[in-house]
């Protein structure tokens, strides 16, 4: 948790990227698999075969373009 608080403070220090320059972040190569059903099934498969759960990041940062 401490690490995450630090991460937030470090993130706030990042140089702001103008919205007009964030188009690259929207490109397909920056996205997770687009099918949410596939993501759900993958989680189910992995959790059925190991005792590790959680920490799953769903989605990512908003591009803040709109």
């Amino acid at each position: 948790l401490v690490a995450f608080v630090l991460l937030i403070f470090m993130a706030s220090a990042c140089k702001t990227v103008p919205a007009s320059q964030r188009g690259t972040l929207l490109e397909p190569c920056m996205q997770p698999p687009s099918d949410p059903m596939e993501i759900a099934l993958d989680s189910h498969v992995h959790e059925s075969r190991e005792a590790i759960v959680g920490g799953t990041a769903v989605g990512g940062p908003s591009c803040g373009c709109n």
Binding site: M30, D35, L41, H44
Partner: protein, 374 residues
């Protein structure tokens, strides 16, 4: 057989994917098949999403697992026979998201999963806000889990499991080409079953005396479990439509299970982004639960069985490796519908390092899907 061993957090997490309130309407269907030496699971699924009012989006879905195969019957050192079976699990969810402003939204999801001896229901509330010139996105999720667990041997017996799941996500734009996402999650479960929070109420532990099974006793786990995980994920654009994504997760729980998961993907978009190819790999290393043992020996001087005992190989020391590929293609527009089709194929190798009776499992995971946006 319990299909929803991990229904607590993963399936639920995917089911409650935050939906942007300005997203297009969307429908999709897919079918996946998991197959290894012992079982085949066919998993058709369908989902849809629609903006039903200004800034209000509703999403719903249904999924089915049809499992058939064989459960190996283990003697001291060998697989001696198999019990054939077939079973199914159904789950569905309904989610609503309200975004009163561009920079924040809130939502709720109901989820239910049913199989013959196991019912899971959950409710989730979540919120998301963008801060620091929309460079940072913070999200908080909370879910309440409710499970009823029965056995086919006793139709009157339905035991209760409850749980709480919390997840905090920070996503950060690092530069014009890179993003970083961090997640911490915790799940607490409390099980009414006197045999504890088991994944399988039918499993027994063989007790050995000088290598010979003299008695089998039901597995018994602790009746509470706190499971925590922390993960980081980096996405970086390499140029020319190529990107690399990598993640790491650390896991620990109160049964002393710890784990490390790493994954990476190389993603490329071609033909004006109409074709997206993804090569991916994943590796997990897991240390066993403190009370796990593949075999328990009876001590003649103290014949009592251990308070907690399990031979569940998913609680053993293990590792697994996944290598896979995925293709997604935007097919020509069909009237107002923008269609994409996808297919994937993965190979998974499971290795159980202190479970000599059945030390390996090799699986294929394949699937196809089609999605339409309006």
């Amino acid at each position: 057989v319990r299909l929803q061993l991990g229904a607590g957090i993963g399936v639920l997490a995917a089911a409650v994917t935050a939906t942007p309130a300005h997203a297009d309407d969307w429908v999709g269907a897919r079918n996946d098949v998991y197959a290894d030496e012992w079982i085949v699971v066919v998993s058709p699924a369908a989902r849809g999403r629609a903006e039903i009012a200004d800034r209000v989006v509703v999403e719903g879905g249904f999924a089915l697992d049809v499992l058939s195969g064989a459960t190996p019957v283990l003697a001291t050192d060998a697989v001696t026979s198999a019990t054939y079976f077939s079973e199914s699990r159904r789950d569905s969810h309904l989610s609503i998201t309200y975004a009163p402003a561009e920079r924040w939204d809130v939502g709720a999801t109901g989820f239910v999963s049913v199989e013959p001896d196991h019912i899971t229901a959950s409710g989730t509330a979540r919120g998301r806000v963008e801060v620091f010139q929309r460079m940072t996105t913070l999200a908080l999720d909370y879910s309440f889990l409710y499970e009823r667990v029965g056995t086919v041997h006793d139709p009157e017996l339905w035991l209760l499991t409850t749980g709480h799941v919390g997840k905090f996500t920070v996503s950060q734009i690092l530069s014009k080409r890179a993003t970083l996402t961090g997640v911490v999650s915790a799940q607490y479960t409390k099980c009414e079953d006197p045999l504890g929070c088991q994944a399988n109420p039918y499993r027994v532990v063989p007790m050995l005396d000088d290598g010979t099974i003299v008695v089998t006793v039901p597995e018994r786990h602790a009746d509470q479990r706190l499971r925590t995980a922390a993960a980081l994920r980096l996405s970086h654009h390499l140029g020319r439509g190529i990107g690399v994504q990598a993640g790491y997760r650390f896991y620990a729980d109160t049964w002393k299970v710890t784990g490390h998961t790493g994954d990476a993907a190389l993603v490329g978009a071609f033909l004006d982004d109409s074709l997206v190819a993804r090569l991916e790999g994943r590796f997990t290393w897991q240390e066993p639960a403190s009370f796990f043992s593949a075999r328990y020996s009876i001590d003649p001087s103290d014949p009592a069985v251990p308070e907690y005992r399990t031979a569940d190989r998913e609680l053993a020391r293990l590792y697994n490796v996944l290598v896979g590929a995925r293709l997604e293609h935007a097919v020509p527009r069909l009237g107002p519908v923008e269609l994409t089709a996808n297919a994937r194929l993965s190979r998974i190798w499971y290795r159980y390092l202190n479970y000599p009776q059945l030390p390996r499992r090799n699986a294929w995971l394949m699937g196809v899907g089609v999605n339409g946006e309006f």
